[in-house]
């Protein structure tokens, strides 16, 4: 079987080895490239994802914010001197109801004056006044303010890095005003550094409601996995060792149904589930697994037939019932095959998109497949870093599963290649 390297042939030939290595490196490189791209994109700021030509390494602008160098988004470069002020009350405003009261604002120096000074004059820190056009009003209103600092043209307005600018809760809570921390820094303080933005990952997961979708997915996967493994094994045992009329026909029918495409049963199945009141529940996604699956039965039957027959006969002579033989002899001996069937069902179910698309309506029930698709299509594909972060986290469990259970996988893949 697979993994048996004693049957290796062909004299070690240096030239051929080098060619093989080069070819394999090239192809593996090509195969891994999209995944590497996915992970790297997930760790980039959104502006970098739009870059042409694309950049591989996540790079982000950093600036000292509150005394600590932190990732920032550059908003704009100042074109004329502007003053940082803390706004106070307007002419007719009462304390507590001021339009900009207490808010940090960036105002053109021409529209600020110190108390006792003139518009456009020098601006020493301290109390003063500012002019600001509110909304569509023609004339600017005058507000009291506290002058903090004056910035020269060429400085940058930067904002603390936030993975997701459309964090609605935060924006709404602040009345659409100052939602994210910002500062003005001189250009030479800005620095673009290679830095993975891990904060993208929790932001993406939170936004797509990952954890509840994970629970939904696990529920469907695990219920189906237990059912299909157990019931398929039972059926495979019956088909392998049972003597009953029509056994050959049942096996042939089982094989033949593998040819039936899902679309050919989709419409009546949907109606069946609707009549049962199962649409909008998880049941259409796992109940049928508890009645077995053709491919699994086929695989397990082939495996069972390869088991040493003497053991089964010995158990039978010892007076074991068929169920006991199944449970105490066949199941323990078939662990690798059963594990493989379970794993492959888990994989299939985790990846399944069409089933959930057909049967689930409510967002609270979405599986990860459906949720990721909804996330991507609702975002219109703009925040690619978040979409990629969610995709990567969605794929990761299967890859970890594979790396942990590599033996079962490789043996299983080879076993699916049993002569048809």
């Amino acid at each position: 079987m697979a993994g048996d390297t004693s049957t290796m042939r062909a004299k070690p030939n240096l030239g051929r080895q080098v060619t093989a290595h080069l070819f394999l490196l090239l192809v593996t490189g090509a195969f891994m490239m999209p995944l590497v791209w996915m992970v790297l994109t997930a760790l980039k700021p959104v502006e970098q994802t739009m870059k042409t030509p694309p950049e591989w390494v996540p790079r982000v602008w950093t600036a000292p914010l509150k005394g600590v160098r932190a990732p920032v988004d550059r908003i704009r470069k100042l074109e004329e001197p502007e003053a940082l002020v803390v706004a106070g009350l307007g002419e007719d405003e009462k304390p507590g109801q001021g339009l900009f009261e207490g808010r940090r604002m960036l105002v053109k120096t021409a529209d600020v004056k110190p108390n006792g000074g003139a518009w456009g004059g020098p601006l020493p820190p301290g109390p003063g006044q500012m002019r600001w056009r509110v909304g569509i009003e023609r004339e600017p209103r005058t507000f009291a303010c506290e002058i903090v600092a004056v910035y020269e043209p060429g400085s940058w307005l930067v904002r603390e890095y936030v993975p997701d600018l459309r964090q609605t809760a935060k924006a709404a809570g602040a009345g659409g005003a100052e939602t994210f921390y910002w500062e003005v820094v001189p250009e030479n303080e800005l620095e673009r550094v290679a830095k993975p933005l891990w904060q993208n990952v929790p932001a993406a997961l939170g936004k797509m409601n990952f954890w509840s979708m994970l629970l939904n997915t696990l529920w469907v996967c695990i219920l189906g996995m237990i059912g299909t493994t157990f019931v398929s094994a039972l059926a495979a045992y019956g088909l392998a060792f049972g003597r009953f009329p029509g056994r050959g026909m049942l096996f042939a029918l089982t094989l033949a149904t593998m040819m039936v495409p899902f679309p050919a049963t989709m419409v009546p199945l949907f109606q069946l589930y609707r009549d049962l009141g199962w649409i909008g529940t998880f049941k259409p996604l796992w109940v049928h697994c508890w009645f077995g699956a053709a491919f699994n039965i086929f695989l397990l039957r082939q495996f069972f037939l390869g088991l040493p027959k003497d053991l089964l006969d010995a158990a039978r002579i010892d007076g074991c019932s068929e169920l006991e033989i199944f449970w105490h002899v066949v199941v323990p001996l078939s662990r690798p095959a059963l594990a493989m069937v379970a794993l492959f069902h888990f994989l299939f179910s985790w990846k399944d998109f069409m089933g959930p698309l057909l049967y689930l309506n409510d967002k609270s029930q979405f599986t990860l497949s459906l949720g990721l698709h909804a996330f991507q299509s609702q975002q219109g594909g703009t925040p690619w870093h978040l979409v990629m972060a969610a995709s990567a986290v969605f794929s990761l469990p299967l890859i970890i599963l594979f790396l942990c259970a590599m033996k079962t996988f490789i043996r299983g893949i080879a076993m699916t290649g049993i002569k048809g």
Partner: protein, 305 residues
């Protein structure tokens, strides 16, 4: 083990009947009716089938499906064979290579479709970013992949590489061919050593060994892959649905039969029509499977049978 055996297979028999045979037969019945969710089915004879025969969109979908199947399967099997052959030269790091080529197969369809949608983006996609510097040298334009309804080719007049939406879909499926490579590798490792020794005595070269020993040994597996591949590719739904935002566009270039069935059943509420299309799909799968097995009987080498 007489009466008892029935008990073991009973759940499966029930499942087979309820979840496969009944819906399968029912959809055949519906295919001869005029049926929407709101009204009960009324017999319509062959109307659905004659309408399908004249439906340009269905014909397009059918043509696309066959073409996609070819584009996905043939290169897939060839690349998988090449990979298996290379892995079988007893290179160091086999398990690393093996994992690396298999892992893409593990990426869930939705994630891989979204990833490829972005990589295939004509303007900001990674693929064109890699292609463009090369094509710029000779002054050619890069392909626009999913936005291009055309097929494959080189437009010398406009100096443009044509790589359309349907081939793009197939390219994406090629990414998952690692599974096949691993199956072939396992089979190659099972090739009896004495065959190689005999070949060596005869002075056979590497190519002759592959053609006369390894390929025949692999042939049952290749046949199996072709059959499962036909069945699989004819049911592809999620990839084009996600890559094209549920449209099968541009201009039906990636519109495959399963999407036709899905849309008619669940969006246009024409269940009978959808079932007829599904049965044509099934008929085609059955026919091609039969043909593959027929050809296989003559071409495939079964050891010890």
């Amino acid at each position: 083990m007489k009466a008892r055996a029935w008990l073991f297979v009973t759940p499966w028999i029930v499942g087979l009947c309820v979840f496969t045979l009944y819906p399968f037969a029912a959809s055949l019945y519906y295919s001869f009716t005029d049926y929407s969710v709101l009204k009960p089915a009324t017999p319509a004879g062959l109307a659905n089938y004659t309408e399908l025969a004249g439906d340009p969109i269905f014909r397009r979908a059918l043509g696309n499906t066959v073409m996609y199947s070819l584009l996905a399967l043939v290169p897939g099997i060839l690349v998988a064979l090449g990979l298996a052959k290379a892995l079988n030269t007893k290179v160091t790091g086999t398990s690393f290579y093996r994992s690396a080529i298999y892992i893409p197969h593990l990426v869930p369809t939705v994630a891989s479709s979204i990833l490829w949608m972005w990589m295939l983006n004509a303007d900001t996609g990674l693929l064109n970013a890699l292609l463009r510097p090369v094509l710029d040298v000779i002054g050619w334009r890069a392909p626009s992949f999913l936005q291009d309804e055309r097929f494959l080719g080189l437009d010398f007049q406009n100096k443009e590489v044509i790589f359309g939406a349907l081939p793009s879909l197939a390219l994406m499926s090629l990414w998952g061919c690692g599974q096949m490579a691993i199956i072939y590798l396992a089979k190659l490792q099972d090739v009896p050593q004495d065959l190689y020794e005999a070949a060596e005595l005869d002075g056979a070269g590497a190519w002759a060994v592959f053609w006369n020993i390894e390929l025949p040994q692999l042939s049952p597996m290749i046949l199996f892959n072709i059959v499962m591949g036909i069945i699989g590719t004819f049911q592809i739904f999620a990839e084009p649905y996600i890559l094209t935002g549920g449209t099968g566009g541009p201009n039906y270039a990636t519109y495959l039969v399963p999407m036709f069935i899905y849309q008619h059943a669940f969006e246009y509420q024409r269940m009978g029509y959808a079932c007829a299309a599904a049965w044509i799909l099934f008929g085609l799968i059955a026919l091609l499977t039969l043909v593959a097995f027929r050809i296989g009987q003559r071409r495939v080498y079964y050891a010890g049978e």
